[in-house]
């Protein structure tokens, strides 16, 4: 019985398949290259300062607690700041992320929306001062918000190299119409090591990650009534 045979030999099929795959891959690679080039040529790129600031922000989002040292009216002042969750507050049943700042005997709780002095209860504090205090104390959430707002607005970020106690660091200077912030960061890890708010005319606050002994401090123990609404994050 006669059998119909393909006019194309096996080697012909192979050559056809290789040619097809090569053409397809070539066309796809050409288009990917064109798409990349189109983006690279037309869209502006962020500045080096903005990229370093974004890395610093990434670092801050992973930080839970920080200790800071600053000179206030010529006297050294140390603070500890930890991430906490606050709620329920007043009629609001929700829990919100907050910073708990402890300076000596004073405790300050700061959320995105309000600041509270923590005594035996929480008392709301008005004005910009609590927010400035938490930023200067290097509270990760407060700094994160401040740096994030500058980046949201694409504020210019100047970068220069400085030497802090003989170690090379990067200084980031954020400027916007009515506000500014200076941060000194470690160029390897992008962790903030010092902070200053130029318009407030304060000195630099020097920051370091909190050690277990900092977090075991008796001043971090809140009164029982407050422990119900202010909880340290795991």
């Amino acid at each position: 019985m006669a059998r119909s045979e393909s006019p194309i030999q096996p080697t012909g099929w192979l050559r056809l398949a290789v040619a097809s795959v090569a053409t397809a891959a070539g066309l796809a690679a050409l288009l990917a290259g064109a798409a990349f080039a189109l983006q690279a040529v037309t869209l502006p790129r962020p500045s080096r300062g903005q990229l370093i600031a974004a890395q610093t922000l990434r670092r801050l989002t992973g930080q839970d607690a920080v200790v800071s040292r600053a000179l206030v009216r010529g006297r050294p002042v140390a603070s500890v700041c930890v991430n906490v969750v606050v709620g329920p507050l007043g009629g609001d049943a929700h829990h919100v992320k907050a910073s708990l700042l402890i300076t000596g005997r004073r405790r300050l709780v700061e959320t995105r929306f309000a600041s509270y002095r923590a005594g035996s209860t929480l008392r709301e504090e008005d004005g910009p001062l609590p927010t400035i205090r938490t930023a200067l104390a290097g509270c990760p959430r407060a700094l994160e918000r401040r740096v994030g707002r500058f980046l949201d607005d694409r504020a210019p970020v100047a970068v220069d190299t400085v030497f802090l106690r003989g170690v090379r660091r990067l200084r980031l200077s954020f400027h916007r119409r009515d506000s500014g912030l200076s941060l000194i960061v470690d160029p390897r890890t992008f962790a903030p090591v010092a902070v200053r708010i130029p318009r407030v005319r304060t000195s630099w606050s020097y920051l370091a990650p909190a050690e277990p002994r900092d977090l075991a401090s008796p001043s971090l123990r809140l009164p029982r009534r407050l422990r119900v609404i202010v909880k340290e994050e795991a």
Binding site: L16, A29, A32, L43, P46, L57, L151
Partner: protein, 368 residues
């Protein structure tokens, strides 16, 4: 040319007429200060007569066009938005219009081209009366107001439908370019690699050797184009995963249990009631995609459209599914199949137009 236009006059009139309706509704909303309330997104323009068409994601596309991308860890940031629309806005800066005006002109112009191309596509796959009904309803579809916003959907509709028309005509290089452009506008265009591949396979017997390779290339073009975006972000931001990082901050991380979470979210206290609009449209799209099977639309098209509607639910929410679904082309064929008869089509068109106006005027209330 005149004969070509005459034959498509009704489609062109519907496309332009529906855009006039949307622009008039947006202008009326601005003039009447209805609905009131605060501007939903920080940085959105409020002075332009058509301001509401630039709300929500429009602000982010403008930021990318003006300043490029920047991933801001822990916050909602712009690498979540694909680059085609900002690239076009930036390229047309020289015309002297604001980004808002340019965005509206581009989006609406592209939509008109998209509807004409969709009609051409439908004619190649369906009987003439269904093709015509599908294109008419697509022009007035209730969620089609998003094609008039400063969003990339209009551009993507045009590029995607042209890619598919070119593929059906065997013009593979043009199809590849248009498919790549569509995928650079919205990643959902990737799903249509499936029907493109199906067309390529079915045509392979009649194509020559070189055309065969180009056909496969055209099917892979959207994938190649989508891949170019993270590569660009890797080069510009030193972060190849910036897109997925930004998506997470927008609550768009995909999980296996996401679909269940999406249903739970509907019933959570304090959720926006507009989520129900998205859920309702999700069901409508799925029903219409199923109806498209009645007119012989093949499985690759239906699977692509269903994936486009269903996959976003894996991120745990129905939010914006009504908008994502406007690119599920077989859904329009489904509605075309159901409204072949004029007596059915007319009331559906009137209802769609009314919902289109309502949808436009309520843009400030709900993220589409």
């Amino acid at each position: 040319m005149n004969a070509w236009l005459r034959e498509r006059r009704a489609i062109l009139t519907a496309a332009v007429g529906s855009r006039v309706l949307v622009l008039a509704a947006a202008a009326a909303g601005h003039r009447l200060h209805w609905p009131g309330g605060p501007v939903p997104v920080h940085g959105a323009s409020t002075t332009h007569t058509l301001s509401i068409l630039s709300y929500w994601d429009g602000v982010w596309y403008r930021t990318v066009a003006e300043q490029g991308y920047l991933l801001i860890p822990g916050r909602q940031s712009d690498p979540a938005f694909f680059p085609l629309f900002p690239i076009v806005l930036r390229a047309l800066r020289g015309l002297g219009f604001s980004f808002l005006t340019t965005g509206i002109l581009v989006a609406n112009g592209a939509f008109v081209i998209g509807i004409l191309a969709f009609y051409e596509l439908s004619r190649r796959l369906l009987p003439a009366d269904v093709a015509r009904a599908s294109a008419l309803i697509a022009a007035f579809f209730p969620m089609s107001f998003v094609f008039s916003m400063t969003y990339p959907e209009g551009l993507v509709l045009a590029a995607l439908t042209l890619a598919l028309v070119f593929a059906l005509d065997g013009r593979w290089t043009l199809s590849a370019v248009a498919g790549a452009a569509a995928a650079l506008g919205r990643p959902e265009a990737l799903f249509f690699a499936l029907p493109l591949a199906a067309v390529a396979v079915s045509r392979s017997r009649v194509s020559g050797r070189r055309a065969n390779g180009r056909a496969i290339g055209a099917a892979f073009a959207p994938l190649a184009s989508v891949a170019a975006f993270p590569l660009y972000l890797g080069w510009a931001l030193h972060n190849v995963s910036a897109w997925s990082g930004a998506q997470q901050a927008w609550g768009r991380s995909f999980e296996l249990g996401g679909v269940v979470d999406a249903f739970h979210q509907l019933f959570e206290p304090g959720q926006t009631p507009w989520l129900w609009r998205d859920a309702a449209f999700c069901l409508i799209y799925l029903a219409l995609i199923a109806a498209a099977r009645r007119v012989g639309i093949s499985w690759p098209w239906l699977v692509a459209a269903a994936a486009l509607v269903l996959l976003p639910l894996a991120s745990g929410t129905f939010m914006s599914d009504a908008r994502f679904g406007v690119l599920a082309l077989p859904a329009y064929w489904g509605v075309g199949a159901l409204t072949r008869r004029r007596i059915v089509r007319l009331p559906v068109l009137v209802l769609s137009a009314a919902l289109l106006v309502a949808g436009t005027m309520t843009i400030p209330l709900a993220n589409p």
